[in-house]
């Protein structure tokens, strides 16, 4: 036996005062009384003193010395050499991905995994170390190596479920790296609590080949040798889920939108169910489905709505995984845009605005003196010398203004380069469009100018000016002589321009897969006033602060299915109101909403691989026995037991 802290044996010196006090205690305290006749009467009625009573002082002394011995030994922290030799270092990987929320194992696979992990922790022996790694959404070390069971047990209990994808392979690699950082001869092992629904499961349990590379890190051998045991949780239960739910604007109808929905049957039997699609709680479509075993169904719905709202798709089918039975999308509201067309007359130009249901068109011959904010002024040919502040679309300018200088006409310009990345040129091709008599334009402020299309002679034909007073678009095309008005590129260009002027309001943000990161820019919503803070509200109502001043930020991972909301936290909305399950519209107006769906065929298929189910029982739990506690614990326990015995004896002979 060895001691970690042999100096603590010095506490045994306390035996000296104990013995001294014992000897002193033999000389009893003298208590004068006026008469002993009453005491004689009382004590003579009691039993005569037994041998035990005569020896009890000596027994008490021996008990106290034994207590001291045990406590001093406990402080010295003794251990056996075999304890060091058999110590283990374990990485417990818990898969908390979406499929682990399946309820085929009650109450859920994740709860069962946590229960089994707690059993593993309870079976830890003294000097064993364990680390905890979460394998859902993002591999994450929850607790580093520790031998303190309570810490790991608390971490397991507080590990939350996610709807994100499984990353068990990455988590195992992370665990192996943790093990590789420590090389002290302990037995190493990675134990994975999972349902087996992740990529690379077939290769995981086999050891990684030893790297032959001479430059491999020192931990390479450990990485290779750390065995992985899979504890498979779950049954081959059937599940039906929405694996795709996306919405986009219609290319032909400004008010229209298209929904792509896909349903996957992850079971071995054919299934019949219904898919209901709702917009703001009102059903807009119901589709009866009949899916073969392991079959898929997908369809595109074309709908129209100017008001926008929340789109939900629901499967009326009860299975063990709830998260993929519902999918959502956010359909922004389409705003009507006022447009003032200043022209001496051009039917194409007038009609291209009139046919747009989102445009409120006013045609005038001369530029108005005052322009309401948000109004797009289209200057056709007649261009003021100074473009007024606000939004302006200059088409075929005939004269010079403060933003550009008009030069000589270009005979037959051919567009040889156009900015394909700009939203203004989305779905627009101008390379074969005839533009006779286009004017040569020279932008005044080159630093604010973005050329969208230019001729082979490098003259800009279509450019945007991002001036502080308002955005300006300039298109130098003679609409009467060219064939642009006859091309589909013309209405698309105008629609893109109006959309650009509107500041991308009404842009559709695609629904994200759970576990994704989302990038939010300053164009996505109106920034809050100074002093106000932004918070990100999860579908469950949890609040996370966001930086208010950043123009571009990445939020996430969004590991819960549902609507994530960016809110402005102010005096008007208390945290309690913001975290309530149902966010009231009068309490807080969302600045931005992001739909998040499971959208993963891997997670929807909750059936563990059959071959893993067969070897499931091979992962034997670690049995603790008496060795789960250090020796000092038992010594301390013995000391406490002796203290209790001595206390009881004292009570018996003195108090009671």
């Amino acid at each position: 036996m060895q001691f970690d802290s042999p100096s603590s044996l010095g506490w045994l010196a306390l035996a000296v005062p104990i013995v001294v006090f014992y000897i002193l205690k033999i000389r009893l305290r003298r208590q004068p009384v006026s008469t002993v006749m009453f005491w004689t009467q009382v004590l003579d009625e009691q039993n005569p003193r037994s041998i035990w009573q005569r020896l009890r002082h000596l027994v008490s002394l021996l008990l106290q010395l034994a207590m001291l011995l045990f406590l001093a030994l406990a402080l010295a922290d003794p251990f056996f050499s075999w304890e060091v030799r058999s110590a283990r270092r374990i990485v417990a990987v818990i898969d908390n991905s979406a499929s682990m929320n399946s309820t085929d194992v009650k109450p859920s696979r994740l709860a069962d995994a946590k229960r089994q992990a707690e059993q593993l922790i309870a079976g830890m022996r003294h000097r064993d170390e364990i680390a905890l790694v979460a394998a859902g959404t993002q591999p994450q070390v929850i607790v580093g190596f520790t031998s303190r069971q309570k810490t790991v047990r608390n971490a397991v209990q507080f590990m939350s479920a996610t709807d994100g994808p499984s990353h068990v392979s990455e988590a195992v690699a992370l665990g192996r790296r943790l093990l590789g950082e420590r090389q002290d001869g302990k037995q190493q092992e990675v134990i994975v609590f999972t349902d087996g629904r992740f990529d690379g499961v077939e290769n995981l349990s086999s050891p990684v080949p030893v790297a032959n590379d001479a430059e491999a890190p020192a931990s390479g051998e450990a990485l290779a040798q750390a065995p992985v045991k899979l504890q498979i949780i779950g049954t081959r239960t059937a599940n039906l889920g929405i694996t795709q739910f996306q919405v986009r604007r219609s290319l032909v109808d400004p008010l229209g939108y298209e929904i792509l929905a896909e349903v996957t049957n992850a079971s071995d039997q054919a299934v019949e169910c219904r898919l209901e699609v709702e917009l703001n709680g009102e059903a807009i479509d119901v589709v009866p489905l009949k899916l073969d075993a392991a079959g898929k169904w997908s369809q595109v719905f074309e709908k129209t709505s100017a008001s926008g709202g929340h789109l939900f798709a629901r499967l009326n089918y009860e299975d063990t995984l709830v998260a993929d039975n519902t999918a959502s999308a956010v359909l922004p509201r389409r705003e009507v845009q006022p447009v003032v067309l200043v022209t001496s007359g051009n039917l194409f130009l007038q009609k291209v605005f009139e046919v747009n249901p989102l445009v409120k068109l006013t045609v005038v011959a001369e530029a108005p003196a005052t322009i309401p904010a948000g109004t797009v002024v289209v200057y056709h040919r007649v261009t003021p010398e100074k473009i007024p502040p606000g939004l302006a679309f200059v088409i075929d300018p005939a004269n010079t203004s403060d933003l550009f200088e008009v030069g000589e006409p270009i005979a037959n310009p051919i567009v040889t380069r156009q900015d394909k990345d700009s939203p203004l040129m989305s779905h627009v091709r101008l390379d074969n469009v005839l533009m006779p008599e286009a004017r040569q334009l020279t932008p005044t402020f080159l630093d604010q100018t973005q050329v969208l299309a230019e001729a082979v002679t490098k003259e800009p034909l279509f450019f945007a000016v991002n001036r502080p007073e308002g955005r300006v678009l300039v298109l130098t095309v003679n609409l009467d002589k060219g064939d642009l008005p006859l091309r589909t590129a013309f209405p698309i260009t105008v629609a893109n321009a109006l959309h650009w002027f509107a500041g991308n309001k009404g842009d559709l943000r695609e629904s994200l897969a759970a576990g994704s990161l989302a990038t939010v820019t300053s164009n996505d919503f109106v920034r809050p006033a100074k002093g106000q803070t932004l918070v990100l509200r999860s579908p469950a109502g949890e609040l996370m602060p966001l930086p208010a001043s950043s123009d571009r930020m990445t939020i996430g991972p969004l590991d819960q299915c549902g609507l994530w909301t960016i809110l402005e936290e102010s005096a008007g909305n208390s945290p309690a109101e913001l975290t309530s399950p149902e966010l009231k519209s009068e309490t807080a107006i969302p600045l931005l909403e992001i739909a998040c769906n499971l959208a993963s065929a891997t997670e929807t298929d909750v059936r563990p691989p059959e071959e893993l189910l067969e070897v499931k029982t091979n992962v034997s739990p670690i049995m603790a026995g008496l060795g789960s506690r250090p020796l000092w614990f038992w010594l301390l326990l013995l000391g406490l037991i002796l203290t209790t015995v001595e206390w009881a004896m004292y009570q018996r002979r003195v108090i009671s």
Partner: protein
């Protein structure tokens, strides 16, 4: 100093308000059976020749023509004996029980002297150790106080029966015998009191004990030292033993009270933490001497 000027003032005050203590009905009322030259009318009897004409009831003779002689009860002074326990057990407590015993004795003696009764004090422990002979008159109080103050605790075997045996053999008139003691008598206090009763004394008990004697608090391994006999006993006192002690002590106290009640004796039980004047007033109230 046990008896100072303030003490004397308190004695005077008590004597003024307690004229009737010894003439009252509780402590002892003893009027002589002899008819004689008193002033209190007793009854009539037939006139026989030779009787003193001065005692003829002439009013009855005038009305009925019968010669009747008026008889008067002759008064005589009361003898009050104080049997004061001076054993070492009386030194127990803070203040000592003995101090209160002497103060009460002095107070009652002063009241009796003020009432022209005769007072004697017999100090005893295992035997009679001092004697203040029968005396009369308030002017003797200072001598009495000096006597009480000089008394010392002594003796190792209190025996009230033996003391009373020698006390009753004295050639003296019967009277009130006030026993001031803790009555912690291993041989039993009843024998001495029985003897007093049988010899037509009127015993009155004033029993004093210390609260610590009634409710001791010590626990554990203890050597009990009897202050009277100096005997030592090693005991282990537990809570149960304490409870049993309290029961035995309460039983003893109830026995003392029961003895007094059984034989119609005056019995005052008190602790030593009371003032003597409060105790005397309490006794007088019990006797109906004061309101």
């Amino acid at each position: 100093m046990l008896f100072d000027g303030d003490f004397l003032k308190k004695l005077e005050y008590l004597s003024l308000i307690s004229r009737r203590v010894f003439r009252g009905s509780v402590l002892a009322q003893r009027r002589t059976k002899q008819m004689g030259g008193g002033i209190e009318f007793a009854d009539h009897r037939e006139y026989t020749p030779g009787d003193d004409f001065r005692h003829m009831d002439w009013n009855i003779y005038a009305r009925h023509g019968d010669l009747l002689l008026k008889r008067f009860q002759e008064e005589e002074d009361l003898h009050v004996y104080f049997l004061l326990d001076c054993s070492r057990s009386m030194g127990f407590g803070n203040p000592a029980k003995f101090d209160l015993a002497r103060q009460v004795t002095a107070a009652l003696a002063y009241i009796a002297l003020a009432d022209l009764d005769r007072v004697g004090v017999i100090a005893y422990s295992q035997e009679i150790i001092a004697d203040f002979p029968l005396t009369r008159g308030k002017d003797r109080i200072l001598s009495l106080l000096r006597f009480l103050e000089r008394l010392e605790l002594q003796g190792s075997d209190t025996n009230l029966g033996r003391i009373v045996s020698s006390f009753v053999l004295r050639p003296q008139r019967r009277g009130l015998a006030v026993v001031v003691s803790d009555l912690f008598d291993p041989n039993g206090y009843e024998r001495g009191l029985d003897l007093l009763r049988h010899r037509t004394y009127e015993p009155h008990l004033i029993q004093i004990h210390d609260p610590a004697e009634a409710r001791p608090q010590m626990l554990g391994e203890i050597e009990l030292v009897d202050v009277e006999t100096d005997s030592v006993r090693k005991v282990t006192i537990t809570e149960r033993a304490l409870r049993e002690y309290r029961r035995v002590f309460d039983q003893f106290q109830a026995g003392v009270a029961g003895y007094g009640k059984k034989y119609g004796l005056g019995c005052t039980q008190t602790t030593n933490d009371v003032n003597f004047e409060d105790l005397v007033l309490r006794m007088m109230r019990a006797a109906g001497a004061v309101n």
